[in-house]
Symmetry: C2
Subunit: 223 residues, 2 copies
């Protein structure tokens, strides 16, 4: 008898993720699973997003980290519902962790829930958490060949944000090559260049968010 | 009965790692397990190291990647023994993967073997592969709080290379804070600032390598 532990683990995870998804749909939450390498700019993006969505869509955040509550501390100044999940040593969030966080966040007050995954370009892509979309950040300091070397996350993501575009001129990152590589792995992936420092692309990103909300719920906002 | 799968996996891995270590010692190899986030500069560091060690210590490389042979292609121009390991979907190298690579590299011709791990700041730190030292790269574009958020790798590493120091002035990375954070996690960690673009710190890094070789084998070189 061959025991495929990973298949069993993923099937159990998918069942719990489907349960989370039902909860989110009932509360009219658009849910995004935000993934990237460590330091690609997930938390800074959420800071800019909180500012840009003010008075439009109500943002909520579940922030996953192995240790520390630094992300929550950075996000708390925006007066949003933020839950910090510490995974201990786990290298990704899974559906069960998200399920355990749900009692700690008022989903009825949230339009867009972003689940900020552990910084890791590999493992998070394997685990659904109940999201509508997986999205990811690649920063230009990481190198333009990353879609080919870490294909699963690029394959799973609906949107790729190319971040730190303000640093492009100081690197040997080929922006065209990076996008061609990403589309080789996932021809349908949408791509937006952004800088959380200069603000470039942030309006385009929040328009993408509003568009997804509109498509899912047929309205621009619940307010 | 409680089955602790992870403990069993790590114990089995440690046994195979000890076997690899015996093979390395017999061939008089100093072995380093090089870890970092994706895009922190592992392969570029190996390019600079190959140049700097020419005529001194003989370098060999086992390059781990989920997919592609790009790292091997970049390193092949240096006329070194280079083996590319593709892990398929595995997010780290383990001792068994390294064991399977050993028949493909002429260890008798190698003084310093660098095992370039999969780009991942989390999982590789849990798995010994038979190395003398774990070492790691943190690039300044990743953020100075990373030692606190991803403590295991900083705890396990003997040496921290702070890379892309040439980009420091374009970031909000606090160099002192990063080092203090690393030393809070691992008071004995050695730290060298480097730039693989300007060459800053590369001589200090290769001196560190030579010192380790000298300490292990009582000589500066086998040649």
């Amino acid at each position: 008898m061959k025991i495929n532990v990973m298949t069993d683990v993923l099937e159990a995870n998918d069942r719990i993720a489907a349960g989370n998804r039902e909860v989110f749909d009932r509360h009219k939450n658009l849910v995004l699973n935000l993934m990237s390498s460590p330091g690609a700019g997930k938390t800074t993006l959420l800071e800019r997003t909180a500012e840009a969505l003010q008075g439009k869509l109500r943002l909520g955040i579940i922030a996953g980290d192995i240790e520390t509550t630094r992300d929550k501390e950075r996000l708390d100044k925006y007066d949003l519902p933020v839950v910090q999940l510490n995974t201990g040593s786990a290298c990704h969030l899974d559906a069960n962790m998200i399920s355990s966080a749900l009692p700690h966040i008022d989903l009825a007050s949230v339009d867009v829930l972003v689940i900020e995954n552990v910084g890791n370009l590999v493992c998070p892509a394997e685990f659904k958490v109940g999201e509508d979309f997986k999205i990811m950040i690649l920063s230009v300091t990481e190198g333009d060949e990353k879609p080919l070397k870490y294909p699963l996350m690029f394959r799973e993501s609906s949107l790729l944000l190319v971040n730190k575009i303000d640093l492009l001129k100081y690197t040997n990152f080929g922006l065209k090559e990076a996008k061609a590589n990403a589309r080789k792995i996932n021809p349908g992936i949408e791509i937006i260049d952004i800088s959380c420092i200069t603000g470039e692309g942030i309006a385009e990103w929040t328009a993408w968010l509003s568009g997804c909300y509109q498509k899912k719920f047929g309205t621009n906002s619940r307010a």
